[in-house]
Symmetry: C2
Subunit: 279 residues, 2 copies
């Protein structure tokens, strides 16, 4: 199901700058019990991205209304929102005024085995690097060739995620996820000042850690440090929290901090679905 600028439709003008230049942003949102989870946080990140790219944000109430309309059609699914700078302009120069394109689409929830949550996944390091650009760091923009090239490095279905490094060999995130490491009871996650996507689940975990008094540090991590962690897990809005049970040749146990964060996230998801329901 697709809503293109508020109407059913899934064909976009080829002149749209999303197609011409990747000139836009997106959000990927879990739908549970017919409701888009953590929508406020997603719309806040989208607003930050629009501000950064100088795209006028479609009204949050409008997007929320359309999101609710689509989400209610699924018990569980994935809602995607794309906002582009629309058509027009002269080459790279943006049009004046900008009339953004918005696309909302509802997709089936992927058929990930339950064991990815319970037992963990296998991961590898990617060769493809994330390039550093402070303008684009943190936001979920449509220029995703680095992730595509990284994901094309393996076809082994036993490996679920690849960890990406920046040009200075610091580990930044997974191809489709953020990364957390646990060492001696403390949480570490790479800084996203230069590249990477500041995920909504990442943001929640930072909040959880603060609430329960687990120290969390956003610092650069290298491959050796990641491999020396006690626990590793990756996060995004669709997968939630997946423990890493094996990274390259190193095997990890699913540890207590990972389990605690999974519990807190599941509570928050259920509360969120119910809160939406009451609204």
């Amino acid at each position: 199901m697709f809503l293109l600028n508020g109407a059913p439709g899934h064909y976009v003008d080829v002149a749209d700058r999303g197609f011409q230049y990747g000139d836009g942003l997106f959000e990927t949102i879990e739908v549970l019990d017919g409701r888009p989870l953590f929508l406020d946080r997603h719309l806040r990140r989208l607003a930050l991205g629009c501000q950064r790219l100088l795209i006028p944000m479609p009204a949050a109430e409008l997007l929320a209304g359309e999101a609710a309309k689509l989400a209610q059609q699924a018990e569980r699914g994935v809602l995607k929102i794309i906002v582009t700078r629309g058509s027009g302009g002269r080459g790279y120069r943006q049009p004046e005024p900008i009339q953004p394109t918005r696309l909302l689409s509802l997709h089936p929830y992927p058929d990930y085995p339950e064991t990815f949550q319970t037992d963990g996944i296998r991961a590898r390091f990617c060769w493809q690097r994330l390039s550093v650009n402070t303008t684009l760091a943190g936001i979920k923009h449509l220029n995703r060739l680095e992730q595509i090239m990284a994901r094309a490095e393996w076809r082994d279905d036993d490996i679920q995620e690849g960890l990406m490094l920046d040009s200075e060999d610091r580990v930044v995130e997974g191809v489709m996820s953020n990364l957390f490491a646990v060492k001696a009871g403390q949480l570490y996650t790479p800084s996203l000042a230069g590249c990477g996507v500041a995920g909504i689940i990442r943001e929640l975990i930072v909040d959880f850690a603060r609430n329960i008094g687990v120290p969390l540090y956003e610092i650069p991590l290298d491959q050796v440090e990641v491999l020396a962690a006690d626990e590793l897990f990756v996060t995004n809005s669709v997968i939630g929290i997946w423990p890493i049970k094996r990274l390259e040749q190193r095997v990890f146990a699913v540890g207590p901090v990972t389990r605690r964060m999974q519990g807190l996230l599941n509570q928050a998801r259920v509360a969120e679905a119910q809160a939406c329901s009451a609204a």
Copy 2:
């Protein structure tokens, strides 16, 4: 006029990875006397880009036939070719098999004043940096947010081009063009090993310089060196060669090497249009 996968049409499925992720490539080609100029070189660069991004290249004969069909409708114009990875796949993971989307479109030639060629243009340095990524360097891919953010830095119509630096403060290229500097009769152009687009006119100028025995060096250039040049010019397939008459506060004369290159390019363009005609 648009040809989408061989048929008239200018609406693309929103599931196309060009729209979803900027997952593709493009070429911008001058049309003169109803013919696409330097088409062989454009298709060669497109093939290199497809190879780099692991996209199966549509047959060159097919693209050439469609390009000729569109181009014959204009005395002068701009032909754009976009090739994307098509639809499908799971998130960043590419579909198997890949069925690329190809879009050819014909546009009016921009109404640039003749003085941009004869007297030169004004240029500035951009704040937005080009990020370094050797996988993506040189090819004309659809991830163009850096250029869009750079072009958004000025609205003064007296300034026609912005020069972009990489994250190590080396001057790389213009927002929409390649850059050449002349110093003591020798030509210099920035290396594109880490970022930038390897332009077709840039490639021609490298050939011209070799043919007429003007030394040309592809080396890193910093802002001070660029400002200290005797002559500066920018190139692309639509503008040809524009001398820079002013960069920031520094004023340049249009010098003999620039003029000579303009003459050689014009000869090559005319020869190319006639050669196409004979074919």
